[in-house]
Symmetry: C2
Subunit: 373 residues, 2 copies
């Protein structure tokens, strides 16, 4: 049996280990928190800091392969492990580009991958010189995650909210739609493309409301999304799972927003909605099996369950019974003992041939299910 390690023990690691149960593989996981969502689901748990060279290197050197569930890992250790023959998914060279938002934007520019105009700002002073570039979005080069390290700067007066550290300032795009697409790449370079997902935002809260898959896109936009995402992934030159988030404007122009070199929230519905889920697919890649079938079994919607505003502490789920009594609905709770505002506590997938049924249930679930303390 191959020995495969995962860096990070959150919900992505948890669902990855859930999919591993179908395969002959010896699983290892490194994570600081022994009570993390994925910690109890592996053959071998290793307590350690995924950002530490020594910890990652010591963890990885006895393994056949290593993957990540978060970008904030020690890349130098991964590079050394790769040089010594451990397979890394994604390759450290690809991760290095993606992990740093400046490198990521420069990579798009060099490879002519459509993406919003940007300038690099090393500090607040450099940001202040860019008031002519507004409105824009300021993104920290390193360490941003799940909306953290991102600041919209609409006017010169808002520059004070920007970051005093290396960052990119991206020209604001008039977004008609946000789309995500997941592409799987095997060691031999073959690819499998999942149907694109509509990321539907709540216009009042400016938060993701729900996801719909397959996305409803004009044919031209659909092909652009696939072609741009596939080109991007090919240029990264790495096996693994890649989630590409894109914007489409009202004219059907498509721009890459960002890419994650791992399983991703925008693919969670694939557990039930596709013949091969993104988690199953990553195991196929790591274990050297053929890529799976990305065809949808049924159209799907997905609602994230995030910690309700105003509640911090041991989680209580409100409305869980009602949602569990709904017919074509799948609840996934991540086993986190404590909730806090905005924390990802679980997700709910809905399958249906009827878009009205999907949307009706999305609304019902959003008004029923809460993670409170």
């Amino acid at each position: 049996m191959k020995k495969v390690g995962i860096l990070g023990g959150g919900q992505l690691g948890r669902m990855l280990l859930q999919a591993a149960i179908n395969y002959p593989v010896e699983t290892h996981l490194m994570e600081n928190d022994p009570l993390a969502p994925a910690a109890h689901l592996c053959h071998h748990f290793c307590s350690g800091d995924i950002r530490s060279f020594d910890d990652v290197y010591a963890f990885g050197k006895e393994l056949d392969a290593l993957t990540i569930e978060i970008e904030s890992v020690n890349i130098e250790a991964l590079e050394k492990l790769e040089a010594e023959g451990v397979k890394i998914y994604p390759k450290p060279a690809a991760l290095k580009i993606i992990k740093n938002k400046i490198a990521q934007k420069e990579f798009y520019a060099v490879h002519e991958i459509p993406s919003s105009a940007f300038v690099v700002t090393k500090n607040k002073a450099e940001l202040e010189a860019q008031s002519h570039f507004l409105p824009a979005v300021h993104k920290l080069a390193m360490g941003g995650y799940d909306g953290k390290g991102v600041q919209v700067i609409g006017t010169a007066a808002e520059i004070e909210f920007g970051f005093d550290a290396p960052a990119v300032l991206e020209k604001k795009v008039i977004i008609h739609k946000e789309i995500a697409i997941i592409i799987a790449v095997s060691d031999d370079g073959s690819t499998a493309i999942y149907p694109p997902v509509d990321m539907v935002f709540d216009p009042h809260l400016n938060l993701l409301s729900h996801q719909l898959c397959p996305a409803e896109l004009p044919e031209k936009v659909f092909w652009k999304v696939e072609a741009i995402a596939l080109n991007l992934v090919r240029k990264l030159n790495s096996a693994g799972i890649f989630a590409i988030e894109l914007f489409a404007d009202a004219d059907g122009q498509v721009l890459v927003n960002e890419v994650a070199p791992r399983v991703h929230n925008s693919g969670h519905h694939s557990i039930e909605a596709n013949y091969c889920s993104q988690f199953d697919m990553l195991w196929r890649i790591i274990l050297g099996y053929p890529l799976g079938n990305t065809t949808p079994i049924l159209p799907a919607a997905l609602v994230n369950l995030v910690g309700s505003a105003g509640f911090t502490g041991p989680v209580k789920y409100e409305g869980l019974e009602e949602v569990l009594s709904m017919d074509n609905v799948f609840v996934h709770l991540y086993g986190k003992s404590d909730t806090k505002p905005g924390r990802k506590m679980g997700h709910v997938t809905i399958l249906s041939k009827e878009k009205q049924d999907l949307l009706h249930k999305v609304n019902k679930i959003k008004h029923l299910l809460f993670a409170k303390a």
Copy 2:
């Protein structure tokens, strides 16, 4: 979080723990073998003998609820735990009936549940007096499992192959079809019925060839199967998952063969084929959530992967790549390091609207995939 224990760590425990990952539950598992298929997937592993009173009692007394993945557990310990307030799925009283084939047959007789005619034989001498009752099937009262403890006795000359221990001798039935049906019962007595499954036998090998779900049954037979199974489960008076195996003869008469008070091989396709799998369903029952939806998403077939004849030792899978490259096919391997003839090593589920597609892939998989050493 409720603390729930599982007695036994084989593939049923493994798939049960795979389904537990979606719920907030603290999982405990007791099993002798720390390398068993399910051993690494729980929060707390406890090394112990599920047949030992002391081990089962010590394991269970700190838990909120307990379930089993095999019948050969210590019932006295379960009875004591139940008396002390631990919830047991199934109830020890139901398990006691089912665990002993004599008690099971007498239970059918008392409750007028249609089942083949039988006599009880306490030893070989009593069996020898029953030559007028042949052809028949001799079944050991205690300890039979997966075809062990069952002996067909066609003629008086074959009586020598019978058991010299308490057993039932069941009149041989001319079987037209073997059918399995799974029924879920919640604490409040509400029930959910899965569609029945066709257990298709290989006429040459006299082994299960594959399962098809939903079973193709004349309407009258279908209603009989549901009504008989539901009546049986109600009479057992216990919450849990129950798998009932039945025979239909050429005239559409339906007889109960046997019942298992737990998740069962005949329900493995439900992982992908039904909105709520049998494993998900058992968690809903134990955690006090509403019963799930047993509707099929798509018709399904299932092929068991058993150890090939003539091979014993560390397993090597033959044909795995070919099967993993098939489109609407789901492979489950149980993570057993060693194979032996007939050992259940995994299963493969196929989903399709088209029966021809299901059967074509069943045949392909049976000729491609092998567990050898």
